[in-house]
């Protein structure tokens, strides 16, 4: 029983991370129908930058968020203008397909660049609090894991407030619902998409620093993209609220998988759930068809 509780806790902690991982991808797709599968690679890059900042500048990863997030916002801004802005005038299907392909290229470029610069060796940041755990009735909860959960909750709340309490946030929601109606209201849809896209990139920075605290290497690009896509399908494309729930669901299913079949098959359970959702409930839990 305790053993299960332990595995389940790890699952929930992973779930928080998965939710964070999928957030940027979900936002961008919801607002402008761009499927940026390079998201995992962005997180990987953020992890490396965080890692080197820690190694050379001794900056604590959790503090480094304030640098990574705006930096990635700017990178997203630039990449949107160079690569993705031209797709804005396409039809929905073409937007999805072309953004998928271009970001697929980016995924490969970034992961190979990382391997080239930094080799495929595993890295991990080791801080003062790395090994420490909090003991809750016999269940060991690592500090880093708890930090990740806290971070996820803070980010989701902040995003929620932004989207519901500010004019620009509401504009983002309006654009994700109806581009033309939003234009009629005086909203500059192109500008909103640019900001949302950059925000999506910025949202890669946060799971990036969490990734750096665990063992990672360039292949994590594919694993994280995969997790993001799974959570996206579970939650329902374009639903921000569903993302955290989807993340936890994935974490829980993986925990069950580990409990039932052992660690090597952890991924498979999640993937099978993914395929099942794809076939029978592609609109995810939130119920909106993509």
């Amino acid at each position: 029983m305790l053993h299960f509780a332990q595995i389940f806790s790890y699952g929930l902690i992973s779930g928080a991370l998965y939710g964070l991982v999928a957030l940027g991808l979900s936002l961008v797709f919801g607002v402008m129908n761009y499927l940026i599968v390079a998201h995992g690679a962005l997180i990987m890059m953020a992890a490396y930058i965080t890692f080197w900042a820690f190694v050379y500048l001794k900056i604590d990863p959790f503090l480094f968020i304030v640098i990574v997030t705006p930096a990635f916002f700017v990178i997203g801004w630039i990449l949107f203008k160079i690569l993705f802005q031209s797709l804005m005038s396409f039809s929905e299907g073409e937007k999805i397909k072309n953004s998928l392909l271009i970001s697929f290229g980016l995924l490969l470029v970034f992961s190979n660049m990382a391997t080239l610069f930094w080799t495929a060796d595993e890295r991990a940041i080791s801080t003062a609090y790395t090994g420490k755990v909090f003991d809750l009735f016999g269940v060991r909860l690592p500090y880093i894991g708890l930090g990740g959960v806290a971070l996820a909750i803070i980010v989701i709340i902040a995003l929620h407030l932004f989207l519901t309490r500010t004019y620009f946030g509401k504009a983002i929601r309006a654009v994700s619902l109806d581009h033309e109606a939003a234009t009629l209201m005086g909203i500059n849809v192109n500008r909103v998409c640019l900001v949302a896209f950059s925000l999506g990139f910025a949202l890669a920075g946060i799971p990036g620093i969490l990734t750096a605290l665990h063992a990672f290497n360039p292949t994590v690009s594919f694993e994280l993209t995969n997790k993001a896509l799974i959570v996206l399908i579970l939650a329902g494309f374009g639903s921000i609220k569903g993302v955290l729930i989807g993340g936890f669901l994935l974490g829980a299913i993986e925990a069950v998988g580990v409990y039932v079949m052992g660690t090597p098959y952890r991924e498979v359970f999640g993937l099978i759930l993914f395929v099942l959702f794809l076939m029978f409930r592609p609109q995810g839990l939130a119920g909106k068809k993509a």
Binding site: K170, R173, A174, L177, T183, L184, I187
Partner: protein
């Protein structure tokens, strides 16, 4: 004053409007009638800048609207209630109204405008925190109009408001529009499939056929004209 001068509009390679001209003077109610597919919505979309003409011009209160980005047209004082309402269904009534008042000018006057709207459509005040998608058809249409009014426009364009609504509700909404037209001195341009209704409410009207203006005149005159009677009112 709203002036459309000799515009040609195309959807890609397919031309939809040929040499269309119309004007709406201050405080007028102008009706645009015609069969399905005649191009009425296209005209409105061209006025709001969503579509750009390949020939001709659109001038709103002295400023060319066909050469500026579509989202800037609201600043010129023209707001459109789109066909099918196009509400933000997953946002609340209040949020829809707030988005209606998105422009800087409108934000400053938000509370005033909300108060005014509540007077015009009291039912909306009761439903402020409901999701727009859960409203009834008539309420949705009212919300769509209210949303466009939040920018305190000088000209309101209304596209096919009667679609899918019960006749009594439609009558009431048109009555409200007439009141706003008088009280706020707001120009109104209505696109309406129900010809009788359109000609009754419009001071002047234009007939659009296959992308071309086929007739123009005072509402009452057209109502009695042979052309309109035969083509649109199914009278011999």
């Amino acid at each position: 004053m709203l002036e459309v001068k000799n515009v040609d509009v195309s959807y890609g390679d397919i031309q939809a409007l040929w040499d269309v001209s119309l004007t709406a003077r201050d405080e007028e109610i102008v009706a645009l009638i015609g069969a399905n597919g005649a191009g009425k919505t296209t005209v409105l979309k061209t006025i709001t800048g969503v579509l750009k003409p390949t020939k001709g011009s659109v001038t709103l209160y002295g400023i060319r609207s066909d050469t500026i980005p579509a989202h800037k047209v609201v600043d010129l004082g023209v707001s459109m209630v789109p066909e099918g309402r196009r509400l933000f269904r997953d946002m609340t009534v209040l949020e829809n109204l707030e988005i209606g008042g998105y422009t800087d000018r409108a934000r400053g006057a938000k509370s005033e405008n909300l108060r005014w709207i509540s007077g015009v459509f009291p039912i909306l005040e009761q439903r402020l925190h409901q999701l727009a998608g859960t409203l009834s058809g008539g309420e949705q249409q009212m919300l769509a109009i209210a949303r466009s009014l939040m920018s305190d426009p000088k000209t309101l364009l209304v596209d096919e408001l009667s679609l899918g609504l019960a006749p009594l509700i439609v009558k009431n909404i048109y009555k409200t529009l007439k009141e706003i037209n008088t009280a706020r001195k707001m120009t109104v341009v209505v696109v309406e499939q129900n010809v009788r209704l359109a000609l009754e409410i419009g001071d002047r009207a234009y007939i659009l056929e296959n992308g071309r203006i086929a007739g123009e005149g005072k509402g009452s005159d057209l109502l009695n004209s042979e052309q309109v009677k035969k083509a649109y009112l199914a009278m011999k």
